[in-house]
């Protein structure tokens, strides 16, 4: 009799656990990244301090692209800090299969050497690239990136650049896979990178 009771108790407990598993979804999954359809994205060849860089030559790597500028005091450093903190969570093998590019939307001011010093402050593996204004404009259009220099409000102040603040995840075939919103925390950055690294 007591054995039967025990079985019932176990059965009730088990169904509770299964029920919880089915209906309780803690917020641990990466946030959905592509709400609207993804822009075409695709390949680019731009200049870095170490010579020209072609995205399609990344030798099977997954790439992260971020469009920003080095004069950016807050948004770009916040993103680069979050990306770097996410990269730290990867295994060395995963890290070796990832390329990270900082693409300047301020080609007038950001030289390749300036970009290199700037991005290496965050992680020596990040590559800063730029091109002529027409190349940058064409690439930004393909990635749905908006940017616009704003005149300074005070005499003597340099201009700031309004810009889209998401990070793009691009496959080894230069196909745009996903976007990460500004402010995506490092653990979600790592989870998303992993998700696309492990996706055929």
């Amino acid at each position: 009799m007591s054995e039967r009771l025990l079985i019932i108790v176990v059965a009730v407990l088990a169904s509770l656990v299964i029920g919880l598993g089915l209906f309780w979804h803690p917020d641990t999954a990466p946030t959905p990244v592509a709400v609207s359809p993804l822009p075409p994205g695709g390949d680019f060849t731009l200049q870095s301090a170490d010579g020209p860089v072609t995205l399609g030559n990344s030798r099977g790597k997954l790439s992260l692209l971020y469009f920003g500028y080095t004069y950016c005091p807050d948004i770009c450093p916040t993103t680069l800090t979050a990306l770097t903190a996410g990269m730290v969570l990867l295994t060395p093998e995963e890290r070796a299969r990832l390329a990270v590019f900082f693409i300047s939307v301020d080609p007038q001011r950001d030289t390749v050497d300036h970009l290199k010093t700037y991005v290496e402050f965050f992680d020596p593996g990040i590559v800063g690239v730029t091109g002529n204004p027409a190349e940058i404009a064409e690439l930004a259009t393909r990635y749905g990136v908006f940017y616009k220099a704003q005149p300074a409000e005070m005499a003597g102040a340099a201009y700031v650049v309004d810009h889209s603040a998401e990070t793009f995840i691009v496959g080894p075939d230069t196909r745009l896979l996903a976007r990460m919103a500004h402010g995506t925390p490092p653990d979600q950055v790592a989870a998303l990178i992993r998700q696309y690294l492990n996706q055929p």
Partner: protein
């Protein structure tokens, strides 16, 4: 011990020039973001808590490390971040203003020299009643987007 003495220094050095809003507004957890050595600008962040019964307005900030100091905010316009100067930052009576990455900040523009981690930047805050106070703000290398602390809603 070193940390403790820094705390004491921070407390004793945040002196008010004269009474008024500067006395009522207490500055919590201020920090300047350590920027890449060749960055021309960086941000200072802090929580301004108004312990008084009168609304206060921060109208000006100044510091000796950069040629310009401005009060700024960010407007997130469908994913496009637009940084704009603001004429003032409201600190309501018994309330607070949170200056944090992605939003309100004191912007240090046109750095005279690169800042180093741990360096202290004295920032003078001036309020709409003319009162002002100096806050000694440490330069911090941020380790993640949420560093050094994350503020919830109050």
């Amino acid at each position: 011990m070193k940390r403790l003495s820094f705390l004491f220094a921070a407390l004793s050095l945040s002196t008010a020039a004269f009474a008024g809003a500067a006395d009522d507004v207490v500055v919590h957890e201020p920090y300047v973001r350590l920027a890449p050595p060749n960055a021309q600008a960086t941000g200072a962040f802090m929580v301004l808590r108004n312990t008084g019964s009168k609304d206060a307005k921060l109208v000006k900030a100044d510091n000796p490390a950069s040629r310009l100091t401005e009060l700024h905010t960010h407007i997130n316009d469908k994913g496009v971040m637009r940084m704009r100067q603001v004429p003032a930052i409201d600190v309501p009576a018994k309330g607070e203003a949170v200056l944090q990455p992605g939003g309100l900040h004191v912007m240090l523009i046109d750095m005279k020299a690169p800042l180093s981690e741990g360096q202290v930047v004295p920032i003078t805050l001036t309020f709409d009643d003319g009162s002002s106070k100096q806050v000694d703000v440490k330069v911090v290398k941020m380790m993640s987007a949420a560093m050094p602390m994350k503020h919830g809603q109050h």
